[in-house]
């Protein structure tokens, strides 16, 4: 079983970003148990990290590990689409949009 390293880039602490963090943590707890590490990075506080990862939009969720790297942007409230985009669902080849 692979360990996951996830990075979530956000812009400030708003209701929308708090909701994104909460949704993602719940999603990871339910699907990855203790096999994940989630890093929350605010681009306003750490712009150099956003620059190094070439983040163009927030929220951006990056799956660093396992490889290959994957990156999604947009609404993280739809857990099924997020799982699919991260390759965590059983039929991730399905329609995401």
């Amino acid at each position: 079983m692979d360990n996951y390293i996830l990075k979530l880039y956000i812009t400030g602490r708003t209701l929308r970003t708090e909701r994104a963090i909460f949704t993602l943590q719940r999603l990871c707890d339910e699907n990855l148990k203790e096999r994940y590490e989630l890093l929350i990075i605010d681009v306003l506080e750490k712009p150099h990290l956003a620059e190094m990862d070439k983040v163009l939009a927030t929220p951006t969720l990056i799956r660093e590990l396992p490889l290959p790297r994957r990156r999604i942007i947009g609404d993280l409230s739809d857990t099924q689409k997020v799982l699919s985009a991260l390759g965590l669902d059983t039929d991730s080849a399905g329609e995401i949009v």
């Binding site: 812009t11 929308r16 681009v43 306003l44 712009p47 956003a50 070439k54 983040v55 163009l56 939009a57 927030t58 929220p59 951006t60 969720l61 990056i62 994957r70 990156r71 999604i72 942007i73 947009g74 609404d75 993280l76 409230s77 739809d78 689409k81 997020v82 985009a85 995401i96 949009v97």
Partner: protein, 386 residues
């Protein structure tokens, strides 16, 4: 990319299924604040939307952040299945909305913080807004359903119903509101009683016309003025009592002056006769105390509506005084001494009652003494002419 979307200023980004930027339009370059060369080939990320669109922040090259609404559609680019992301800048729109919401919340907080009961009604009388105090007052006064007096109910109709049941204040209020609404008056004010089992209350109703977005309406404010009313009433009462007390003091003073005057038409020997107070000071004190007790009885009779007369006791006192051969001056001195003792012991209001009752009592006492002299003194004294 020269479609209508670009004409509307919407940014277009063509993405591969892996989220790599394949193409951008000019508007997208502006939104990202980056030239196309810096964007094409770069990984934006796989766009996930829920419910047709989602909001994202673009991290611009100048460090600023633009809030955009993103829609995503399937498309074909260079013969491959791709994604088309349409970006619309909503930064200014959200900023304005946020400011409006803040202003609205601020206004609502002020509206609800006011202790006056406020309702806004439109030209048909329909209540379109009320503050917290309005609703609280309604609930505290037995209104079970706020629909009857809250937003959506008709204030004119409420007044009409009350007026039909004989409430003249409601009829006057309705007339006044319509006067302001028609533009005949700019303001209407009405003081009205609104008593309840807990006590008396008065309110001031004030209606002011206003126009919002072209439709005329009224702001109706009800202010509890009970405290002011009671204060004014108390002040008036105190003034009246003070006036009365002043009148009584003058009256007493005049009576005292009279008792000190020398009798008219009498000889020198009569004028220098000592008074009862001088002749028998201890007896005078006893009689004054007895008179004071009679004053107490008279007050009790008046206060508690006791039917039993005190005339019998007054008559007994009169006969006793008659046996001591007192004159009118003695009677007045006894009465004034008794009255002063009671005035000194009581407040202004009660003192006035003592004075009022004392007038009747002293007249009655004089009458009985006169009757005593007529009945028991020798005819020559009763009627010197005969």
């Amino acid at each position: 990319m020269g479609d209508s979307t670009e004409a509307n200023g919407e940014g277009i980004v063509i993405l591969s299924q892996d989220g790599i930027i394949l193409q951008v339009n000019t508007a997208a370059e502006v939104l990202f604040n980056r030239p196309a060369e810096q964007l094409i080939g770069h990984e934006l990320g796989y766009p996930v939307v829920a419910g047709g669109y989602s909001e994202i922040e673009l991290v611009r090259a100048n460090g600023q952040v633009a809030l955009v609404e993103m829609r995503v559609e399937q498309t074909e680019w260079d013969g491959r299945l791709s994604l088309l992301a349409v970006l619309r800048d909503v930064t200014e729109q959200r900023r304005i909305t946020q400011q409006l919401n803040q202003a609205k919340r601020f206004n609502e907080a002020i509206f609800n913080a006011l202790s006056s009961h406020i309702a806004v009604i439109n030209q048909t009388g329909e209540i379109v807004a009320v503050n917290q105090a309005w609703e609280t007052f309604a609930i505290e006064n037995g209104v079970c359903d706020l629909k009857n007096v809250g937003v959506g109910s008709n204030y004119f109709e409420v007044c009409r119903r009350a007026a039909r049941l004989g409430d003249e204040w409601a009829a006057r209020a309705l007339l006044g509101l319509q006067t302001v609404l028609s533009g005949q008056e700019s303001v209407f004010e009405l003081e009205y009683p609104c008593h309840h089992p807990g006590g008396q209350r008065w309110f001031l109703m004030r209606a002011t016309s206003f126009a919002s977005d072209g439709w005329p309406g009224l702001v109706v404010v009800h202010v509890d003025i009970t405290e002011q009313k009671l204060t004014i009433r108390q002040e008036v009462e105190q003034e009246m009592v003070a006036d009365l007390a002043q009148q009584r003091r003058l009256e007493l003073s005049a009576l005292e002056t009279l008792t000190r005057l020398e009798p008219l038409g009498r000889g020198e020997e009569m004028a220098v006769l000592p008074t009862l107070r001088e002749r028998m000071p201890e007896r005078f004190a006893e009689l004054s105390a007895q008179c004071a007790r009679l004053l107490d009885l008279a007050i009790q009779k008046r206060t508690f509506d006791i039917r039993q007369s005190v005339s019998g006791e007054i008559q007994a006192l009169a006969e006793y005084l008659g046996l001591l051969k007192v004159g009118p001056r003695d009677v007045m001195e006894i009465y004034l001494d008794a009255l002063k003792s009671r005035i000194n012991e009581n407040n202004v209001k009660k003192s006035n009652v003592y004075i009022e009752e004392g007038r009747v009592l002293v007249l009655e006492l004089m009458g009985y003494i006169l009757a005593f002299y007529r009945n028991y003194l020798p005819p020559v004294i009763r009627n010197p002419v005969s």
